[in-house]
């Protein structure tokens, strides 16, 4: 085998440190599973190449295709773990956005019999949300229990906490909501201003609840049938939520035409931003979950 024979002159200390920093930054642009597999090798290659800026730039440039069309399916467990974590986060954001829609149309009395399409969209969203929760819950429960048991057995307090986030965070959020509602003199949360004030907190809680298991997956690195089941369930749940997102999008477009007398629908800016967020969350959930399912179902 040809031994490594770097053919470059070593740059001065400060320049070398700067180039190494740039090389690390370029590698950091890649997906976690890719970095885990090739990160050290690419760093070594960049070191051997003398940290030439063109080489670093070529590595940075290739990070985008690595996200869009990952080729590292041979690392299937890492791919599945990444997909489950990403799909869970995107799914949570999508569910949150859908709940905002559902709550707002109720607060603005847009569920009246005259708005058939809106009622229909609300029904589709509610059904899809319930079904996807069921699918994600049933599919993810074995993996969750498996790694929770392992975290407890190995006395990994931080991982145990991460895994309990989906339970603890909603409970804390709802408790905080009840207390805040009473203090604000709006225990049922019926005013629009109160709702808009607590909605960001809801998104933060959903993000924390979703990120916890993702961090635990990354640290504990589980493998096996439970991970495959979770990856497939994530794909099915994401597909169901994509249907909900489509129903919401249709309702929003209709409301922009028919409900211009209502705040928020008198121009397309707010619904446009909202729809862009829905589309982004649905796309991330679908793409990531599809990659995970592909890795789960691929021939070993």
């Amino acid at each position: 085998m040809t031994p490594p024979t770097p053919a470059h002159s070593t740059p001065p200390g400060a320049t070398l440190a700067g180039r190494k920093l740039l090389a690390r930054a370029a590698v950091a642009l890649y997906p976690p599973a890719w970095r885990a597999r090739y990160g050290d090798e690419v760093s070594a290659l960049l070191d051997d190449s003398g940290g030439v800026l063109a080489a670093v730039a070529s590595v940075a440039w290739r990070a985008l295709p690595a996200w869009i069309c990952p080729r590292h399916l041979h690392d299937r467990p890492a791919r599945m773990r990444s997909s489950v974590a990403t799909a869970l986060l995107a799914w949570s954001m999508l569910a949150g956005l859908g709940l905002v829609f559902a709550q707002l149309i109720q607060l603005q009395s847009l569920m009246a019999p005259g708005y058939v399409e809106v009622r229909w969209a609300h029904a589709v969203f509610s059904g899809a949300l319930a079904l996807s929760v069921l699918v994600a819950g049933l599919g993810g429960l074995p993996l969750w229990l498996l790694i929770l048991r392992r975290a407890r057995r190995e006395h990994r307090a931080r991982d145990t906490l991460y895994l309990l986030m989906p339970v603890l965070t909603p409970v804390a959020y709802l408790a905080g909501l009840a207390v805040t509602g009473r203090l604000a003199g709006d225990p049922n949360g019926e005013s629009l201003s109160w709702f808009l004030a607590v909605a960001p907190a809801g998104f933060a809680a959903a993000a924390i609840a979703a990120i916890g298991p993702g961090l635990a997956l990354r640290r504990l690195q589980p493998q096996g049938p439970a991970l495959r089941l979770a990856a497939v369930a994530a794909a099915v749940a994401a597909a169901i939520m994509a249907v909900a997102a489509a129903a919401i999008a249709v309702a929003e477009v209709i409301l922009c035409q028919w409900a211009r007398q209502y705040s928020g629908y008198d121009n397309f800016t707010t619904p446009g931003i909202y729809l862009a967020l829905v589309a982004a969350a649905a796309s991330v959930a679908m793409v990531s979950a599809a990659r995970g399912a592909r890795a789960a179902l691929a021939e070993p």
Partner: protein, 108 residues
């Protein structure tokens, strides 16, 4: 003429050809391809190709104690390289023959 054929070269084929005789790591591949085939492979392109070839089962990594992990060509990779080389030989043969007929070019 290093780099002149970059636009037309097929990077996966270059990497397979580089690994055809012995295992090499990333830097050794870029050096070998530049010196023997006259094509400069960038670090980004090289590892995009390595990931693709490894996922396709055409190359495989070897154990290594340091960060420079060597790769070797698999049986499937050797077969793919042989088939592609054969096809390229035919293309080159036809090209030389026709250029010779049309332009009186004798080739090298």
């Amino acid at each position: 003429m290093t780099g002149r054929l970059d636009r037309w070269a097929d990077p996966p084929l270059l990497v397979l050809a580089s690994l055809a005789d012995e295992p090499r790591h990333g830097y050794a591949i870029t050096q070998d391809v530049a010196q023997t085939m006259g094509v400069r492979l960038s670090a980004g392109t090289l590892y995009a190709v390595i990931a693709r070839l490894e996922a396709s089962g055409l190359i495989e990594p070897l154990e290594s104690d340091d960060r420079r992990r060597p790769y070797r060509i698999t049986a499937a990779g050797a077969q793919a390289l042989a088939q592609e080389s054969e096809r390229m030989s035919k293309v080159a043969s036809v090209a030389r023959q026709r250029l010779s007929t049309r332009l009186g070019w004798a080739g090298s």
